[in-house]
């Protein structure tokens, strides 16, 4: 425990990094499958089945990253877990109901009588919408320091819309990669229609964050930090331009480069997230509780970390295995 210096310093840091990584993986992975759920009403009936098929083998594991992220918050930073979740009581409730509806209708729409299928398709969309909106809302409230004032709520409502549209964009990008023919063409137009959500979301949070706290402002606009930070907006801008250009000329011959919009969208999410993580560090509850103050006892963190070092590579490798087994264009979902 002492090898890397004071365990009360490096252990919270390691757990903040692990938690951050889980949240990022969650946002990208469940982002695309929530996004696909949001696109369901836009597709016709046979396309709906294919949409669902494209996320079928993955969504469950994708949501487990949320459980891991919240779990790490719970186990590594228990006081922060209580503080954050009690102040987000209502949006958390909306998200949970949304995730429940979504997961259940996913199964039900394929198993219930055909006459009910419309209903479960509706529930699938509604659940995806509730989960996306509430996550965006929580993101906005978090940036605003988790205090419920009118301007903060207004800002959070805005980020709710942006994140939802952003999710629909990464969902469409996933579909461009995993589908073909007419559905792929539609996915390309959905992606063109959704990219603004991602851009506006990133812009809104980037504009608001430094002005909420002078500490973050100084971190951004002081020399030479501003120089180290500058690749973030530059690469993000380049990715947006690339996406714009790429989407306008898709679909390409022989399905060429169909993975690039998804990869670029993942890059954008990662950069935006990296920027946020940089801004808020070392706070886990913005401007109130640092990761060092909120951390559990070092002995407890150490025993979790030991397990993590063995288990996380295993999780990552069998997750990759699963994406490999279900590689290629999405096929009809069959149990046999």
């Amino acid at each position: 425990m002492e090898t890397f210096g004071d365990p009360a310093i490096w252990l919270p840091w390691a757990f903040a990094a692990l938690m951050g990584l889980s949240i990022l993986i969650y946002v990208v992975l469940d982002g695309f499958d929530l996004g696909v759920g949001l696109l369901v009403p836009l597709a016709d009936d046979t396309q709906k089945d294919r949409l669902v098929a494209s996320i079928g083998p993955f969504w469950d594991a994708n949501e487990t990253w949320l459980v891991l992220a919240v779990g790490l918050l719970l186990v590594a930073f228990p006081t922060a877990h209580g503080e954050i979740l009690t102040s987000l009581y209502l949006p958390v409730f909306v998200m949970l109901i949304g995730l429940i509806l979504r997961g259940v209708s996913f199964e039900m729409r394929a198993k219930a009588p055909l006459t009910q299928k419309k209903l479960w398709n509706g529930a699938f969309f509604a659940g995806s919408l509730m989960a996306s909106l509430s996550q965006g809302f929580m993101l906005g409230m978090y940036v605003m320091g988790l205090t419920w004032t009118l301007p903060h709520v207004a800002f959070a409502l805005l980020t709710a819309v942006f994140l939802t549209v952003g999710y629909s964009f990464i969902g469409a990008a996933w579909l461009i990669w995993k589908t073909e023919g007419a559905l792929q063409t539609r996915a390309i137009s959905w992606a063109k229609g959704g990219i603004w959500g991602l851009v506006m979301g990133i812009a809104a949070i980037s504009l608001a964050t430094p002005f909420v706290s002078t500490r973050i402002f100084d971190k951004w606009f002081s020399w030479p930090e501003a120089l180290y930070l500058s690749p973030l907006p530059i690469i993000s801008g380049a990715l947006v331009v690339f996406l714009w250009w790429q989407l306008s000329r898709m679909p390409l011959k022989n399905d060429g480069w169909s993975w690039t919009p998804f990869a670029a969208a993942t890059g954008l999410f990662t950069l935006a997230y990296g920027g946020m993580a940089y801004s808020f560090y070392p706070y886990v509850v913005p401007e109130k509780i640092t990761i060092y103050e909120a951390a559990s006892a070092p002995e407890s963190l150490f025993i979790i970390l030991l397990g993590t070092l063995f288990v996380l590579p295993a999780i990552l490798s069998y997750t990759v295995l699963s994406y490999y087994i279900f590689r290629g264009k999405a096929a009809e979902l069959k149990y046999d």
Partner: protein, 462 residues
Amino acid sequence: MDTLLLSRIQFGANISFHILFPTITIALGWMLLFFKLRFARTGERKWMDAYMFWVKVFALSFAMGVVSGITMSFQFGTNWPGFMEKVGNVAGPLLAYEIMTAFFLEAVFLGIMLFGASRVKSWVHTLATFLVAFGTTMSTFWIIVLNSWMHTPQGYEMIDGVVHASNWFEIIFNPSMPYRFVHMMLASGLTVAFLIAGISALRMLWGDRGEDVKAVLRVGIITGAALIPLQILAGDLHGLNTLENQPAKVAAMEGNWETQGNVPLVLFALPDEDARENRFEVAIPNVASLILTHSLDGEVPGLNDFVGPDGEIMHPPVAPVFWGFRIMVGTGMAMLALSWGGLLLLRKYGASDMPRLPLYVFSAMSFSGWIATLAGWYTTEIGRQPWLVQGVLSTKEAVSDVPVGMVLSTLIGYLIVYGLLILAYIGVITYLARRATRGEVYSNRTYPRRGEAPVASLQPGE
């Protein structure tokens, strides 16, 4: 109603809804593996048909379990912030190990188990089925460790009012853990035994004469008949363990007010906490002493020992624990009678000519495992009150100060959604059974046996 009671009801509602589905998936995973292995060994089509029918129920139950489980991980923070603040150093690592060793294993291999049969070799698919079943069992193990530790905490020290782990071996193998784990695994086995027997009986009543239905009915009855005596034994041992560690809970289960010998077994009563006595008591003399101490005049603790000098009540609410226990035991006895009766009928008539009456009874008992499991959990969890962690943290210390209206409105929201979903769940299972009865083909594929690759079924575009 205050925030404390509403939060308790809300958490109770969430965890009750949640446990319904793991109770099915824990044992159904192993049952599916059994079907798959029987098929690999015998090559008989009926086992694959059985697999194909029940894997759908598994997929549905699993999804319900996952999404309702996500709720649990948030509710610790939204409703019970004091729990993690005080005992987080013990609870945290246990939950983390559950997520890392179990949740991901289940979730990732579930995709391969459900949709990968045509994409991987048969043995890989069997392995995926095994890993999913193994994952659900690991998950049970870790969560039972934590739950048992909340009943019988040890291996910790208090520093500045916060629990710190001092001995992980003692924490994991705390006194009630082995009993609770075995009791829960058997409960899951029984729930699935009666579920598969009941739904098969229903299909036979609807006129399904498929070989798979008869085979599953047999498997269900035999599994039920084999597990129920073990469960009664495990339950008895668990009760003795509780007597040692949580005497107030046992006093409430027995409806026994005074510590004394020759305590009767109360069959029926309405416990009255204000008068501190039982009304309308029907009891068999000495039997409670006999069961709990294995001697007719053995001393059994009474509830009145758990009232502080200032009148503070330190025992659980009596009526729910008393009745929860009786409902669990009653359901267990019905299971014993039905499964052993079913066994005799199976010997006499065989599955094909099973008379209609027992088939009706079996289908009526399809979800009896749920009733027994919930009643049992209510007994043990309400029986721990007023403690959240026995002797360490009281429930009212841990609750959040969220406004009453917020807890109440979200509680109503959860209840409506859960009620509708349970109806939809049972509705869809019976619908799947009806569709199968109509002879809908599960699959046109010819299944490969061990080691053969399903060449014919590669997807286009690969």
